[in-house]
């Protein structure tokens, strides 16, 4: 990448600093209606964040119930039917309400236009609408819990889902449909914004990598989510009217349903992980104070993951009666995704090489991401190998795999992102010490929860089991204890973040020394972000940034760029 010396005018920064004390997007308007019907992307992002964290709490409660039930084989606290309800709701809430919208809709909404130098997303009203759809989807999920709940697993396999007596199936499916459209509209908005609202000077290769990741994510959202829409519609019609396309009793084909489901749900896992990788790319570079290594490789690997992700859905169906030919093709293609993922991991490491690494909370979570996603991704390789998959499919090995990538990957990256942009969003600094403490609890608790599950799974402990052979009791208990430790960590995060809102130190415009455009406007940003589009430079060029101890943040210095510090 060609080095671009930042041409950022000092006056602009000064204006941004001044803005901190004055009007910002939080104080711009008052009253509950000014939030619920706002079309400001920042407020919508904040509302998403609050709602998604609430959903995370709900999903987490179900997880804790699941884990507690598994303390002993046989009944512990609830009946088998309730256990089945709990893991279904846990999975469905975590996937559809938390992890898919998590980073794009909450953090992406907040920072995308600012990073781009735009005033808002292309369609602010559509953005609000997709938030309202999210709320409607969440309400439908709650309705499902009220009307008898669901016990199908988050995969809704036919014919179980068309025959189970539980009354919550249709509401939950409607919820998934609505949430799908919420996700589609977010993606659509992002693509149009990145295409059409880039200010002059913001070329494609000056886009921060987080935006490349969001762009790739949006492509998947557009191309895969509609298939989920039609799948759940068909499933509703199957259940209510007996359509007969999927139900064997009516001449249909249940394996066809699985194709439908996974054509969306596999690409969906890359909807989850790509934005997380984007966040990691930002944080690794900023907290190493070093230009990201291999910008182009990282940018294109996002696109590659998004595209390859469409070719592998059948790896969830290796033992389901999928034909040998197609099974083989899918196994081979599955591995194609791991190459761009590997590229990213190595590039992050190379970025750290020769940097100046600061272990602030966001960076700690980012390092944890690389550690945990490494394990999660590498265990994906076991699952992709046909013979191994036959043994490991639908065991706790899979459960551990996807928690390592979804919870340890995406969610940890989201927590990193929350900490990274928290000063920008709220204008406050949180307690660094408590941040590091809770990190320790989450990281240790996480590994204690899910690592034993790899062992159990490889020894043949199937998933979705209420009752289990006694030989697994010890490992299950370890896992449960780990989940309690992790809960302590999350509660601690919630406590100190909330505390910082009231008592935190005021945040400078640029506490970490980031060079992307959001650090150029005040913390919190003014209502319209920028009066005029800021000139865009290399988003990873930190040469001009100097630490100013008086404000506890970074400012653009006057130090001339030394000739020897020019990037190659």
């Amino acid at each position: 990448m060609k080095a671009v010396v930042s041409t950022f005018p000092r006056s602009h920064v000064a204006a941004a600093e001044a803005g901190a004390a004055g009007d910002n997007y939080l104080t711009h308007a008052h009253g509950i209606r000014s939030w619920l019907f706002t079309i400001d992307h920042k407020r919508i992002g904040v509302m998403y964040l609050v709602s998604i964290l609430a959903a995370f709490l709900l999903g987490g409660i179900f997880a804790i119930l699941v884990r507690t039930e598994l303390l002993t084989p046989g009944p512990t606290i609830v009946s088998a039917d309730n256990y089945n309800r709990f893991f279904t709701l846990h999975g469905a809430i975590m996937v559809f309400l938390v992890i898919i919208p998590g980073i794009p809709a909450a953090l992406g909404n907040f920072v995308l236009p600012i990073m781009l130098g735009a005033k808002d997303l292309a369609f602010p009203r559509l953005n609000l609408f997709s938030y309202h759809l999210w709320v409607l989807g969440a309400l439908l999920a709650v309705l499902a819990i009220v009307t008898g709940s669901v016990d199908t697993g988050w995969t809704f396999y036919v014919p179980y889902a068309t025959t189970t007596g539980m009354g919550g199936v249709v509401p939950v499916l409607l919820g998934a449909f609505v949430l799908g459209f919420s996700s589609i509209f977010t993606g659509l908005n992002f693509i149009v914004t990145i295409h059409k609202l880039r200010p002059p000077g913001m070329t494609w290769f000056r886009l921060p990598l987080f935006l490349w990741a969001l762009y790739a994510t949006a492509v998947i959202q557009i191309l895969a989510t509609p298939v989920l829409g039609v799948t759940v519609l068909l499933l509703i019609v199957e259940r209510v009217l007996g359509l007969g396309i999927f139900q064997p009793g009516l001449g249909g084909d249940p394996v066809l349903y699985q194709h439908f489901f996974w054509f969306y749900s596999h690409p969906a896992v890359y909807i989850m992980i790509l934005p997380a990788m984007g966040i990691v790319s930002e944080i690794v570079s900023v907290f190493s104070r070093k230009h990201i290594f291999g910008y182009h490789f990282i940018a294109f690997s996002s696109i590659a993951i998004a595209l390859f992700g469409f070719f592998v859905w059948g790896h969830h169906m290796f033992v389901s009666g999928q034909s040998n030919l197609v099974t083989t093709i899918f196994s081979l293609l599955t591995y194609s995704v791991s190459i761009p993922s590997a590229v990213k991991v190595f590039n992050w490491l190379a970025t750290m090489h020769g940097g100046s690494i600061s272990l602030r909370t966001p960076m700690l979570y980012t390092l944890a991401f690389i550690f945990i996603f490494g394990i999660g991704g590498l265990t994906g390789l076991f699952l992709g190998a046909l013979a191994a998959n036959v043994h490991l499919h639908d065991t706790y090995f899979v459960v551990a795999h996807f928690h390592y990538v979804m919870m340890g990957g995406t969610l940890i990256a989201m927590i990193a992102g929350i900490h990274y942009w928290w000063p920008k969003m709220t204008g406050r600094m949180y307690s660094e010490r408590l941040g590091q403490l809770s990190f320790a609890a989450v990281f240790l608790g996480f590994n204690l929860t899910f690592f034993p599950q790899f062992i159990m799974g490889s020894h043949g402990m199937p998933r979705r089991y209420y009752n289990y052979p006694p030989q697994f009791e010890f490992l299950h208990q370890l896992s449960t204890v780990g989940s309690y430790l992790m809960t302590v960590g999350f509660v601690l995060i919630a406590v100190y973040l909330l505390h910082s809102l009231f008592a935190g130190r005021r945040a400078p415009a640029n506490p970490w020394g980031g060079a992307t455009l959001e650090w150029h406007c005040a913390s919190p940003p003014p209502a319209h972000n920028f009066d005029e589009p800021p000139p865009a430079g290399d988003p990873y060029d930190f040469n001009d940034l100097e630490y100013d101890a008086r404000i506890g943040g970074y400012v653009y210095g006057t130090r001339p760029v030394a000739a020897d510090s020019e990037p190659t």
Partner: protein
């Protein structure tokens, strides 16, 4: 030419419909068009799922489709196709009229489009009603009346039989033996050792005809819902046109509703031969 707005908004003054985060009307319009195309892409993928179900059943059970499609009326389908094509034309003309600030023509064209849409749904209603009476419905509700006569007797005559005899299908005749040693098929476990005669159903008859109607109703039903949504949008556009909102300076809603309507037409262009014209 009775527009309430000046047809010409000079480039310098801020255009009345320009939102604050866009820099020019062209940028705004192009964004909206791109957004619409992305949305249309999702619509195509939404139907894509159903086309996949269609392809799977048609490929594996061509006999069901050949047997059952005669119960659809080819002529009604053809008329409906023509109606939709004409409506697409009137819609495109409506966009042109708006671009030319020809308000009266715009209203006429929108009204014609709506009329066509209603006509389409009317004919669909006739077809659905016939199926309902004959019990030719999907999966659970498939209860064919014995008298169920093919809608187009013409077709049956052509083939010289009523109803067409079902050809015994050879499903799964794809040969992948070059990759795999084919496993033997059938429930051999219950047969006496050495007995490899495949068990064949006694009378060759077309089974699972309800699958065709399941696919038919899913596809045309989802399409009809889209027509309905299009009509609501068209009504809204016509109303705004009557209020004189559109002119050469601002016609985005007309153009966007137009794009949507064309996609509805485009999908029908595939549905018609795939469902009605099997032969």
């Amino acid at each position: 030419m009775s527009t309430s707005r000046p047809a010409d908004s000079s480039a310098g003054a801020p255009a009345p419909h320009l939102q604050h985060h866009f820099t020019s009307p062209a940028q705004q319009f192009e964004s909206v068009v791109l957004g619409m195309w992305l949305f249309l892409a999702t619509e195509i993928l939404l139907f894509g799922g159903l086309f996949c179900a269609y392809a799977v059943y048609r490929a594996n059970h061509p006999e069901i489709f050949e047997y059952a499609h005669v119960y659809l009326s080819k002529s009604l389908g053809a008329v409906n196709t023509a109606i939709l094509l004409v409506s697409s034309f009137t819609m495109a003309s409506a966009v042109w009229a708006a671009q030319q600030s020809r308000a009266r023509l715009l209203r006429i064209m929108l009204a014609l489009t709506i009329a066509c849409g209603l006509g389409f749904l009317g004919i669909k209603y006739v077809e659905y009603k016939h199926k309902w009476h004959e019990g030719l419905l999907w999966g659970k509700l498939y209860r064919p009346q014995h008298e169920a006569a093919p809608f187009s007797a013409h077709h049956a005559f052509e083939h010289g039989q009523t109803p067409p005899a079902a050809p015994t299908s050879a499903p799964g005749d794809t040969d992948v033996s070059w990759v795999f040693t084919p496993g033997d098929t059938g429930p051999r476990g219950l047969l006496a050792p050495g007995d490899t005669t495949p068990l064949v159903s006694p009378e060759p008859k077309v089974h699972n005809v309800q699958l065709f109607f399941g696919v038919y109703f899913a596809l045309t039903g989802l399409h009809a819902v889209h027509v309905l949504a299009g009509l609501v949008l068209l009504g809204w556009t016509l109303w705004r046109a009557a209020l004189g909102h559109f002119s050469a300076a601002y016609f985005t809603p007309v153009a966007m509703v137009g794009l949507y309507w064309h996609v509805v037409d485009l999908i029908w262009i595939y549905l018609f031969p795939l469902l009605y014209l099997i032969h």
